[in-house]
Symmetry: C2
DNA sequence: TTGCTCCTCACGTCACGTGAGGTGGC
DNA sequence: TTGCTCCTCACGTCACGTGAGGTGGC
């Protein structure tokens, strides 16, 4: 059974991030945990937002962009203009991500052949001089 | 015809990076341009290294890792241990890159469906209230 | 008292970006 | 003198990492 309010430790384990990251996200106004004295208590809302934050990061959005997206998200369904501009932002991000993936594919292919080349050199190499210190 | 020694401006255009980046790489001892008074002159060696640096970055190596690789590279064919450890480093990097690409693939698929969903919402949305300021 | 988790500064890191203010030769 | 490219600080940015030093309740 999962509790609705998590301590920073529970929260960091639940999402596999450091406590520092959670404090940082609060400072950036991405999260707004309640307080019990000094202690933070992350509510269900924080947990839902954290899921969206991590998804946004996987999508390559900056934290500031994620903050804006969460804001739109928060405003319920928002207005047409907001949704449309969000979609545009996402579509641009998609193009960038596809470019990055293609770059990465090329880089992977390149690196593989470089490794193969290295191994080739390695197994045709004469053993290096061994310093004659065997008195 | 290409000159063997390039000014910082020529060099930055040739490799599509900023002058600041070139100065930064010099500070990090990745490049070592000659000097004509204060001015930097990037030699053929710098140009060759720059190619390797950018390739390393595409491979996801940090500048410090690239510096080490260049060092090995510089020591001629180096010894077997060095080459073997370089290959190991590269193999690890390869695994990370493949993981990243797979993550990216998932993220791309996700984002596409999110965009589709957004567009779906958008075209089934009743037009928002228009403020009645038409006096 | 010890141990645990939590807290707040606040400086460090990485790879540069971005002025500010100045030099040198056509 | 103006304009161009170059230079060196040196602070800013982004997303945190990493101590230092302190608190609170079992």
């Amino acid at each position: 059974m999962t509790h609705s309010r998590l301590t920073i430790r529970q929260m960091s384990k639940a999402f596999d991030v450091t406590a520092r990251t959670l404090r940082f996200y609060e400072a950036k106004e991405l999260l707004s945990p309640e307080r019990l004295g000094q202690r933070r208590l992350f509510t269900h809302r924080d947990q839902a937002r954290m899921t969206l934050i991590l998804r946004g990061k996987r999508f390559g959005f900056s934290l500031e962009e994620i903050r804006q997206l969460l804001e739109l998200y928060d405003g319920g369904t928002g207005n047409v203009v907001q949704i449309a501009s969000t979609i545009k932002m996402a579509a641009n991000r998609l193009l960038e991500m596809e470019r990055r993936r293609d770059d990465l594919d090329v880089a992977i292919t390149d690196l593989k052949s470089q490794i193969a080349e290295g191994e080739h050199i390695l197994c045709h190499l004469t053993p290096p001089e061994i310093p004659a210190s065997r008195n």
